[in-house]
């Protein structure tokens, strides 16, 4: 019996090639999109789970509120890890990581700049699962100047992984000994380093200060320990260790500190939450956001739904042609159950074929998708372990979802009715079909609006006036290599034709260097009401004009003013935080070396117009600029038609002063990099939305074809009676366009609501304009119209003699 079902199903599918092709293609397309998104989501959710102890590892975060500012840090105090380990028995182990940002590693005569470098405590390998290929994991990071490298790095520098005992020259200093080679850190790790240098090589790591935060600190709990219980003990713990320092350095007790509304807290975040739920200061890498996981999962589901709806629609539309078959089978003794199984066999067969196609397509498209998403997802044996059962489940679920309605609908035909020749009863079930078309197009229009809003917002970010000019600025990344020659270098570069200005400072709007410190409005007080906790940047006299910032009051720093060593330029936000409407000339105070006995007075000499230096998700923070020497970067404003030549000239100046590698980039590229993940998300969104719309149109195309086929005779008669082509096209198109109109009415408010919510996440954002919605509506209408009219025109142009004979 079952063989008969399959046979009939197969023949029926073969006979209706167009229908089958549309169904299989639509479903395969939908499933492919779905699978790609699922792979993406699974990849995002798998972050840090490679650690066998992942469920017991937590990172300690710090919350600091001082006066008006509150900041969250992913980094903690230097002695925290060790102290937690000794004070709390439930803490099995703890490890600190400190981002070393960049080092130069010598290979032959070349100095290679490496960015993925961290200092790490010896316990690193007890906490994280980073298998060692060569070397002793328990001792590798003990001694100063020990270094553990990844497999790839070992191959890069030594052409071998058997290199324990060899040495590396780092920043032109010899004596770093390779004590271990580990497997590459998995791509699904929230930190990704190639070099782990022993923490003991970094003297600062022995600091016992409790009022500073610069070490990423991870805690491994004993089995069964409750992290909540430890968290509850944090306030007392912090009080115990930091009270003394607060008294001696800030001249106040913790109670006084907290009375002012300030606080200083610690909390724990599970290791596996970091990638999707943490985006705070001092992260070891760029994390993602759970929000995007939700959005993408929703899109995947939408696409699958649209594909299923196509299936249902086309199947029920086809019921006209199947009705007689159902009638005959019933007359011959088929029960309704038999028929349901038959139709389900058919739909499952389509789903099976579609899924197989989708699996291959996913495999083929994965490299392109990886490129788009900036991922390195691969399908391995481990993937198949869940992918195959999941595919089977998808086949069954989609097969049943898509097949059940036609199955129940068709099997319910009364043989007397359908055999009477009332075959036109086939376009029955039209209400449900209308509903489904509306549903599909509501989703499509929703996605179009979503895409437009995201696109607008990304565009806005690109083109927003940021308060500085990022174009035509060349940034030399490693200016610190110049040591004492950096001033000379800057002055020489300024002389070059094609260079309009240059500034020496590591604090750039697009850079990573950030520093915060406390200023008070009054001397000799530690009242937080008087405090401001701004970004504190060291800049030179050329900074403002090189970066194209605008002064709105006062003046820039000047070398000719001897007093400028105690002058400040603040941004508008800082002025607002300080509550000063006319700040120029006012004084701010800061303790020297963290000691409140020694206070230095600064005078505000200028106010710079606000400029963006964080992501546009965040509001602009207060910035106070000091006239101070910092040689982190040299930024050069260029103005030349022959950029490569100019870069070469700058490079030769560089080479005359240092042997170090010349590292540079352009500021606008650095800016783009900040929003790369957002742009990626936007692109992925656009791609999948287009797919969703394409699939919906495929369904509409098929439906229009059937509607036209159903009405072949009617169209023939109308033409014989004198109807024009346009009248007939209108007749066939009108019904569908009405449905699209309903979909527009339903989806636009929903889309507006959700996109409005999405935008709330940006401190700086576009509005959703009426024309955004209008564009989406018109686009949907147009696409639908083109799809339908293709069929309608074909039907309308058919010779009526042919269609009438067809009966």
């Amino acid at each position: 019996m079952f063989k008969n079902y399959l046979k009939t199903a197969f023949r029926s599918l073969k006979r209706n090639k167009g229908f089958t092709a549309i169904n299989i293609l639509g479903l395969a397309l939908g499933l492919t999109a779905c699978l790609l998104i699922v792979l993406y989501v699974v990849n995002e959710l798998s972050f840090d789970r490679y650690n066998t102890k992942a469920d017991r590892i937590y990172r300690v975060n710090e919350d600091l509120k001082l006066g008006n500012n509150s900041v969250q840090y992913a980094v903690c105090m230097p002695p925290l890890a060790q102290t937690l380990k000794t004070d709390f028995p439930e803490v099995e182990n703890a490890v600190r990581l400190k981002n070393a940002y960049s080092i130069h590693v010598k290979k032959g005569s070349e100095n290679i700049l490496e960015y993925r470098v961290a200092f790490a405590d010896p316990s690193l390998f007890d906490v994280f699962t980073l298998p060692m290929i060569n070397g002793n994991a328990s001792t590798a990071l003990k001694e100063p100047n020990s270094i553990v490298i990844t497999e790839t790095t070992a191959l890069k520098y030594f052409n071998s992984t058997n290199v324990v005992g060899k040495s590396l020259v780092i920043n032109d200093q010899g004596g770093f000994k390779v004590t271990g080679v580990i497997k590459d850190v998995p791509k699904t790790s929230h930190f990704n380093f190639d070099f782990f240098i022993s923490m003991s090589s970094f003297p600062d790591s022995k600091s016992d200060k409790w009022l500073r935060s610069d070490y990423n600190t991870y805690v491994l709990f004993r089995k069964g320990a409750d992290p909540k219980k430890l968290e509850a003990q944090f306030p007392a713990f912090l009080r115990k260790y930091s009270a003394g320092e607060m008294q001696s350095d800030m001249k106040m007790s913790i109670d006084d500190f907290e009375k002012g509304g300030s606080y200083f807290r610690m909390n724990l975040i599970p290791l596996t939450d970091i990638h999707l739920h943490s985006n705070i200061s001092g992260e070891l890498g760029a994390n993602s956001s759970a929000q995007y996981i939700y959005i993408f999962s929703a899109i995947a589901l939408f696409i699958l739904l649209i594909a299923c709806v196509n299936f249902m629609n086309l199947s029920t539309a086809r019921s006209a042609n199947r009705a007689r078959e159902v009638g005959v089978r019933k007359v011959l003794g088929s029960s309704r159950g038999n028929l349901v199984i038959q139709f389900l066999a058919e739909s499952n067969m389509i789903t099976l074929v579609s899924t197989i196609i989708a699996l291959f397509a996913t495999y083929a498209l994965l490299p392109a998708f990886n490129q788009l998403a900036g991922k390195e997802i691969s399908i391995g044996l481990g993937t198949f372990a869940w992918l195959l059962p999941a595919s089977l489940l998808i086949i069954l679920i989609v097969g049943f979802m898509a097949g059940s309605y036609p199955a129940l609908f068709l099997s319910g035909f009364q043989p007397v009715n359908v055999l009477k020749g009332k075959l036109s009863a086939g376009f029955k079930g039209g209400n449900l079909r209308n509903f489904l078309v509306v549903f599909q197009f509501s989703i499509s229009i929703f996605l179009i609006i979503g895409t437009l809003v995201i696109y607008n917002q990304l565009n806005y970010i690109q083109s927003k006036n940021l308060g500085y000019n990022r174009n035509q600025v060349l940034v030399i990344k490693n200016a610190y290599e110049l040591n004492t020659h950096s001033q000379t270098f800057k002055q020489e570069v300024k002389q070059l034709p094609g260079v309009s200005d240059a500034t020496l400072s590591g604090y750039l709007p697009t850079g990573q260097a950030r520093n915060t410190s406390i200023f008070y409005k009054e001397a000799g007080t530690t009242d937080q009401k008087n405090a401001i906790f701004p970004q504190t940047w060291s800049i030179d006299e050329d900074y403002i004009k090189t970066l194209g910032m605008k002064m709105i009051a006062g003046r820039e720093f000047s070398t000719s003013m001897a007093t400028d060593s105690s002058a400040l330029i603040i941004n508008e936000t800082a002025a607002r935080f300080l509550g000063m409407s006319n700040p120029v000339g006012k004084l701010l105070y800061q303790s020297v070396d963290g000691n409140h006995e020694h206070v230095k007075a600064y005078q505000i000499v200028g106010v710079v117009k606000d400029f963006h230096f964080n992501s546009l998700h965040e509001n602009i923070a207060p910035v106070i600029m000091r006239f101070n020497y910092d040689n982190g970067n040299v930024s050069v404003r260029v103005n030349s038609s022959n950029l490569p030549a100019l870069v070469n000239q700058i490079k030769s100046k560089w080479s005359s002063l240092t042997s170090a590698h010349f590292e540079y980039s352009f500021m606008d590229q650095d800016f783009e990099a900040t929003y790369r993940s957002e742009q990626r998300i936007g692109q992925i969104f656009i791609v999948f939305t287009s797919l969703a719309i394409l699939i919906a149109c495929l369904g509409l195309f098929g439906l229009a074809a059937y509607a036209a086929e159903q009405r072949t005779k009617e169209i023939g008669i109308r033409k014989v009676l004198g109807a024009s082509v346009s009248v007939i096209v209108g007749l066939l198109t009108k019904d569908f366009l009405k449905l699209i109109l309903v979909a527009i009415v339903i989806s636009t408010p929903l889309a507006w609501y959700f996109m409005h919510k999405w935008l709330q996440d940006f401190a700086y954002r576009v509005n959703i304009h009426w024309y955004t919605v209008a564009i989406a509506a018109v686009t949907a209408m147009l696409i639908a119209f083109i799809t339908i009219s293709f069929q309608s025109i074909k039907a309308a142009l058919t010779n009526p003699v042919k269609s009438l004979k067809n009966e």
Binding site: M1, N4, S12, L332, G333, S335, P415, V416, G421
Partner: protein, 225 residues
Amino acid sequence: MIKITDLEKFYRTEEVETIALNKLSMEVRKGEFVAIMGPSGCGKSTLLNILGMLDDPDAGSYIFNDTEVAHFNERKRADLRKHNIGFVFQSFNLIDELTVFENVELPLIYTGVAASERVKRVEAVLDKMQIMHRRNHYPQQLSGGQQQRVAIARAVVNNPKLILADEPTGNLDSSNGNEVMELLTDLNEQGTTIIMVTHSEHDARYSHRIIRLLDGHTVMENIMI
């Protein structure tokens, strides 16, 4: 074999109520060949559908083989139908996706006959209908007369006690029509009860008895022999 008494069937469409069968009573004995005639719309097909248990009456009694079936539900009717009744339609109603062989095999599948037995029985009946050489063709590849022979083969493959034919020659030319009538006569002579709706006096002459309907009521019965 069949005894109906005061059978009624109404069709309600919005405001209009059509009485398709109006207190119709009749009897068909085992082995009879009955023709039903009457003007278009007088209720012939309605009657045949009720006799074939494809439809149920609104009132009256229908006794089939000594069982009252008027109140049977769909499942019971389907069960009774597939074992006892074969149908032949004016428009053949073959399934386009299935070959001649598979079309004929279908009733056997639904009654749960084993595969090897099915092959035997289908081949036997195709032989009898002289379309064995077309067993692997699809319905569209056959002439009307051949299609109707396949339909008759399908109707009889289960050895039904009753064959209901609704204008079986309506779509055929006269020579093909006569062939079909000969086949039905043969079947009748082998003991199968046949009730046939027809518009053709010529075809009706093959039967033992003609029941004439007018507006859902018997107006006359002619005994042919």
